[in-house]
Every structure is written in C-alpha cells, then in structure tokens.
C-alpha cells in the first residue's frame, strides 16, 4: 500500500483487498506464526489461528529445511517458489507461493506475506498431457518453424532414436532439405490441421510408410510457432495392400490371358468381368458390358434354369452359345456359383470354344481313315504280287507242258491259272467293298439287336463245326447312331474268325462268346474265343496288311475292313490273345464321337443322301 493509491481509498482497500485478491494470503511473524489470513486461505488450508505456517502448509511440526520465509526475514527480498503441501482435507496439493516482506517502522522485516496460488489442477493436467503424448500409440513429435524436433515421444524415439534438436526431414527421410509441401509445412502456413501419406526410412534403413496428421500447437507473433506431428506407421498395412494388389494383378492377368472365355455375372444378370477370349467368342467389342435380356439370348437356357449355388457347378460338355453376330458357337460350358462369406456374388462362367477342337477331331478322323487306306494299298500290292507269282507259275507250267506235250503239266498249269484268277476276282470284290468311299450311314439302332442277328446267322454253322456260339447282351446298352450294315460286317468278321480259331485249336470243341456293354461312355462290342490264340508276332500283323493265317482261304481283308468300319465310327479295336488259350477282340465306340459323327454326316451329306436314294 504505497504510492499511487489515493489516500481516501487506503482505509477502504485495507481488509477488502485482502479478501478480494484471488490468492490465499497469510501473514506470518518472525516466529512463523500466522497472524492474519484471508477467507481464501481458510477455505484452502483450513483453520490457522494459533498455528505456525509449516504446520498449516505442510502439516509438519518443525520448520521446513530450506525455509524461504526465513530468507525473506533475513534479506527482505521477494521470493517465488514452487511448493507441495497438504490442503485442509489432508490432500496433496501444488502451489506457487510469493513471499513478500512487511517492514516495521525501524525498517526491519517484521512480517512476511505469503500469497499462494493453487496449481494442483494444472499440474494434474500437465501430467496427463505428458502421459498421453509419451504413450500414445502413434509416433508423435513437436517441431518448430525450422522443422527442428523439439520433443519426440517414446514411439518416435523407438523408431528414429534420440533426435531432439535435429531436423525432422533429416531424421525421418534422410534428406538434407525440407520436403516441401508436407502436412507440417501446410499447418505452419495456414494454421489448420493436415493429413497426408509419407514415405520414410526407419533408423534401421528400411522403408516405412505413415499417415501423418499435423496440428498447430502454439501461436506467436509470426503465426504458428510449433506443430505437433502424429504419424501412424502403416508399413504392415501397406505391405498387405501391396500383396492384395499383386494378387489382384495376378488373377486379373490370369483371367485376361486365359484361352477360355470367362464371364462373371452378378445376381442381376449383369456381366461384371469379360475377358478378351469371351469378347471374341461372343463377338462383343463395346466398352459397356452386356447384361439382362441380351445375356439370356446368348447363354444356354439351362444355365438360367439351374443357376448353381455356391460351389455347385453346372457343366454342359457340349452345348452352344449365340454371339452378338448371331452365330451359334459350340462350346463346353461350365458355371460356378461364387460366394464371399455368406453373400452370393453371382456366377463365374467358363466357355471353351469347341470350333477348333471339332475341326481337329474331324481332321484326325480323316487322317486315321487315310492312314488305313495307305496301309491297305501296301497290303493290296503284296496280295497282287502273290497272285502274279501264281499266274507266272501257271503260265510256266502251261508253256513247258505245251512244249513237251506233257498233258498233266498242261492241266496243272491251267488249274493254277484258274485258281489265281478266282483269287484276284475275290480280292477285287472284297477290296471294292472295303475301299468303298461312302461315309457310314448312321441310324439310331439297338446295338443288342444287331449283335443278336449276326449271332443267329452263324449259330447253325457253328453248331455243325462243333463250336458253341453264345450272345451275352449288356442290359444297360442303349440305342446308338451306328451304320447297321457296317457293324454287322464287323461282327460277322470277328465271329467267323473266332470260329476258325476254335477249329484250329488242338482239342476239339470250344466256344465263341459275343458281348455288349456300356463302359466309361463307350459302347463296347466284344468277341471272345477259346481257340488257338495268336503269338505276339501274329498279333502285331493282323491289322497291318492283307495278312492271313488261313492260307488260300482268306483274303486278309476281314480284320482290315472291320478296323476301317470301326474307325469310321470314331472308335478303335484292340485285341488280347494268348497262344493256346484264346483271343478277345474288343470294339470301343465313344458315344460322344458317335453323336458328333452322326450329326456331321447329317449336316454335310444331306443332299448326297437324297441323291443316293433317288438312284435306288
């Protein structure tokens, strides 16, 4: 209460000022006894009357070791100190205390005023803030306008080491100058919060990825003074992202480059994915993907009827789709239901274009047929050579017989000539029937009834020769498109061979069994005998030329003709044989090929068939 206060105010201020200052004020005498205090003081520290300051402030009986008040009594200087004490409830509290001297008339310091401000709350918040800063699960640092790190939290130090005072760009990115428009720079510029992705280098030197958020921390005259940077390390997430991207790219390339046409169709019949093969197959070049009604006219109706559930598959081995040009394309069609978790995503559709395959199959059949013809020609040449040899012999006998007037030789020669003429006549006849260039005349017939008819035809002949002939039909055998005459010829040849084989075995009797059955999609005819069997050498030759083991009796064309007919049916014939035990010939006709061949024959020879009929 000195200069500056008008005199008339002094008495008014007095006690009022003491009561109104926002401090806890107490006055102590040189014995450290509190002699006066304001209402604030009482409220904070409780009753003080008759007590010493250390008892009230700190709850101790003796004076504080470094008592500041004592020093003020000594030198009369003002002191400020940070103290910890206990409040009236006995709770720990923080406060700042100002100590000021009150001098008496002698100029000695008689009293000391103690003005305390409670900091308990502030301290508490400070500690909490610190804890949050240090222990937050992100990397955090405070930087100044020079991008120097003022403070860094535990996580940040863990990642980059002790870095206070260093430039953040040096620490985080190993750069020698600021990065430019980083979020921190933006925040310094406009005082707003900013977020961005940053790529840095950890103290181990590995690339590290962050999402960084920067906020202004304190402002000064020049704007933002400090910025707090909070970064979340997203390196593992980025790694996952990259792996996901790789997987995505991989599958996309797989789908894009697949030779199979692939569509992904959602539950509203909209195409979501269409690879180039699918575009080509469906003749669709527009950028927009087809959907709805168009798709329904293209894809097989059966797909829409039987839309498969998750994991189920609709497989149509031979069907057709229509494309944007209105063409019908034969395809192998597969559709699979797709699911993610419990949610249905729609269907994946795979289509293999069968046009090329069909063409190749046709070519292969043709090549097999030509191969058979080539072998036939070689065999034919040999048979003709043999006949020529016979004719040569006959002429020689006749020539020499005539020259010597040897009647027996003349007759002999004539006979040889006649026999060989007969042989060549039979050969030409067989050969013509063998080489007839007609395609099989496919009709849908019951394989069992064909086999049954041939067996009946041979039954008497077999019985006369003491051979038992049996037919064991397969009851699951279904009608099939076959050339009935051709198959009859095949079975006739095999059965008569079987009977001959039985006749050639050492013990009399024996049997020939004809069987039919369905096996792995093939229609199978089988003719087994328990006759003489064949050695390995003979087995290798039976199909290759006009080979015969029947001397002059056979033309060697039977099995060749059989094989040719079987091949024209898209099938194959094989043989198992053991010398002395018997032989089994087996004709296998894949049903799919039968259907395809019958359909092709119908398509390509429609007009010819009519022509042939009109000739009859």
């Amino acid at each position: 209460m000195s200069a500056g206060v008008p005199e008339e105010l002094e008495p008014l201020l007095g006690q009022n000022l003491l009561e109104h200052v926002p401090f806890n004020v107490a006055v102590i005498n040189r014995d450290f006894e509190i002699v006066a205090a304001n209402q604030n003081f009482r409220q904070f520290f409780g009753n003080w009357e008759g007590r010493r300051c250390h008892e009230v402030f700190k709850g101790i009986r003796v004076r504080c070791p470094h008592c500041r008040a004592a020093a003020v009594f000594e030198d009369g200087l003002v002191r400020v100190s940070d103290e910890t004490g206990i409040d009236r409830h006995g709770r720990r509290c923080h406060y700042v205390v100002h100590l000021a001297p009150l001098r008496g008339p002698t100029g000695e310091v008689e009293y000391v005023i103690e003005m305390t401000t409670d900091l308990t709350e502030t301290r508490h918040w400070q500690q909490q803030y610190n804890l949050v800063f240090e222990r937050m699960p992100s990397l955090a640092c405070v930087i100044d306008r020079d991008f120097r790190i003022v403070r860094a939290n535990e996580k940040f130090r863990e990642k980059f080491g002790e870095v206070e005072g260093q430039h953040c760009y040096r620490v985080c990115k190993r750069r020698n100058e600021p990065c430019g428009r980083c979020p921190a720079a933006l925040t310094f510029e406009d005082g707003q919060e900013h977020t961005g992705r940053q790529e840095g280098v950890s103290k181990e030197g590995t690339p590290t990825y962050y999402v960084v958020t920067t906020s202004p921390l304190s402002r000064g005259d020049a704007g933002v003074e400090h910025v707090i940077e909070m970064a979340t390390d997203i390196t593992p997430i980025r790694e996952l992202e990259m792996r996901l991207q790789e997987a995505h790219d991989f599958y996309e390339a797989l789908i894009r480059n697949a030779a199979t046409a692939i569509l992904a169709v959602d539950n509203n019949d909209r195409v979501r994915v269409m690879n180039p093969a699918a575009r080509e197959l469906l003749a669709w070049s527009a950028a927009r993907l087809p959907s709805g009604r168009r798709l329904r006219t293209w894809l097989p109706e059966e797909f829409f009827r039987r839309k498969p559930l998750d994991g189920d598959v609709v497989q149509l081995p031979e069907t057709a789709v229509r494309n944007a040009r209105g063409e019908t394309v034969p395809v192998r069609f597969t559709a699979v239901g797709m699911k993610s978790g419990a949610k249905s995503l729609g269907h994946a559709v795979f289509m293999e274009d069968l046009r090329e395959l069909k063409r190749l199959e046709q070519e292969k059949l043709e090549a097999e047929r030509l191969g058979a013809v080539g072998q036939t020609v070689a065999g034919l040449a040999h048979t003709i050579k043999n006949v020529l040899m016979g004719l040569e012999g006959g002429m020689y006998m006749l020539d020499t017989g005539l020259r010597r007037s040897d009647a027996e030789r003349i007759i002999n020669g004539w006979e040889v000539l006649r026999r060989n003429f007969d042989k060549i006549t039979a050969l030409v006849k067989d050969f013509l029937s063998f080489a007839k260039g007609r395609l099989p005349d496919f009709q849908t017939v019951d394989p069992n009834s064909i086999a049954h008819d041939v067996v009946e035809l041979y039954r008497d002949a077999a019985r006369r020769q003491g051979v038992q002939l049996r037919f064991e039909p397969g009851f699951d055998v279904r009608p099939a498109p076959l050339d009935p005459d051709g198959m009859e010829t095949c079975l006739t040849n095999l059965i008569s061979n079987g009977i001959d084989a039985v006749m050639m075995r050492e013990e009399p009797g024996g049997s020939v069994v004809v069987r039919t059955r369905e096996e792995d999609g093939d229609l199978v005819f089988e003719v087994s005998d328990d006759g003489c069997g064949m050695d390995w050498e003979t087995k290798g030759k039976i199909f290759t030329t006009f080979f015969t083991t029947k001397g002059g009796k056979g033309t060697g064309l039977g099995l060749l003709t059989t094989r040719k007919i079987v091949q024209e049916h898209g099938g194959r014939i094989d043989v198992e044989s053991t010398p002395g035990k018997g032989t089994t010939f087996r004709i296998r006709l894949p049903r799919r090929r039968l259907e395809a061949l019958a359909a092709a024959a119908k398509r390509s020879s429609g007009p010819e068939a009519n022509h042939e009929q009109s000739n009859r």
């Binding site: 072998q375 070689a378 065999g379 040449a381 040999h382 050579k385 043999n386 020529l388 040899m389 016979g390 004719l391 040569e392 012999g393 006959g394 020689y396 006998m397 020499t400 030789r409 002999n412 040889v416 026999r419 060989n420 050498e537 003979t538 030759k541 290759t544 030329t545 080979f547 015969t548 083991t549 001397g551 002059g552």
Partner: protein, 170 residues
C-alpha cells in the same frame, strides 16, 4: 531240258502254287528239289537232310522265314548253306524289318515276287557258284557291252574268228 545237276534245293513257301512253280522251274533246270510249307517244316527237312541251297519266302504263318533263318544261323552244321530270299514283302511294313535284318547280316541275295523262271534259276546258279552257265541268262545289254570292250582289245585273228562264228549262227 538240261542234264541232271547234282545239287539239291529246298523251296520254302506257304503257297502251294508258288511251291509247285518254283519246284518245276528248278527241276526243269536239272536240280533236285524238295519243298516245305513253313519255317518249322523247313527246319525239320534241313536237319534231316541238308540241301545245297534254300529258297526262302519271308512272310509265312506259323514259323516265318526270318525266324527260320535265325535258327539256321545258330546251327554250326547248317549255317553255311546259301539262302536265296524270294519275297513279296521287301518293301512293305510287314516284311521290311525282317528283310533288312536278313539282307544286312544274312545272305544278301533276294528276289522280289513275282519272279520270272529264268531269273530265278540264274540266281540259284549264281549262289551255287555255277557262274559259267549263267552268262546265257544275262541281259543282252551286258553282253553287248562286253563285246564292245573285247573289240577294243582284240587282235585281227580273234576278230575274224568272232565274225565267222556270228555268220555261222545266222
């Protein structure tokens, strides 16, 4: 036709007509002939009574010519008998492998069916080393060439003699 030759030939062929024909041709040329209809019968006959030459067909049922030949080669007493192959299968799939085996390592002499009687007899003679008589069977082109070669070297006396001989004939 010819005087008897003291050589016995075994003709092996599965076709009776062919056997008869080859037998007649050889007999007419003065040879003694035996026949066999397959490799097995041929082996029996060769072992029982070794011939001077075997005329062999390659592709026969039961026991082929190639099999027969291999067994013949195993027999020290028989493997020197000359073999003449008479086949229709020299070049086709059925006979090629056997044929190549036999012509590479075997007798190396073959005739391809059909064979003319003269060529057949000539081949037999040649294999038996009866070269002298064989000249008659050679094609005239060869003879003309030989004559030309002889003319270049011949002296006056020899030429005169040759000329006289030709005049006598015609």
């Amino acid at each position: 036709m010819s005087s008897r030759i003291d050589k016995r030939i075994l003709v092996v062929d599965d076709e009776e007509d062919v056997r008869d024909y080859l037998k007649a041709a050889l007999e007419d040329a003065g040879f003694e002939v035996e026949t066999a209809c397959d490799g097995l019968e041929a082996l029996e006959k060769v072992r029982a009574h070794p011939p001077d030459l075997i005329s062999l067909d390659l592709v026969m049922p039961r026991h082929s010519g190639a099999k027969f030949y291999r067994e013949l080669q195993k027999d020290k007493a028989l493997h020197r008998i000359p073999v003449l192959i008479v086949t229709g299968h020299a070049r086709d799939e059925l006979g090629r492998a056997d044929f190549e085996e036999l012509t590479m390592s075997g007798p190396g002499v073959y005739l391809e069916k059909p064979v003319r009687p003269a060529a057949y007899v000539a081949a037999v003679r040649k294999l038996l080393g009866m070269e002298a008589e064989e000249a008659a069977q050679r094609p005239p082109e060869d003879l003309k060439q030989e004559l030309e070669d002889a003319l270049k070297k011949a002296d006056r006396v020899a030429l005169q003699r040759a000329l006289d001989a030709l005049k006598d004939r015609s």
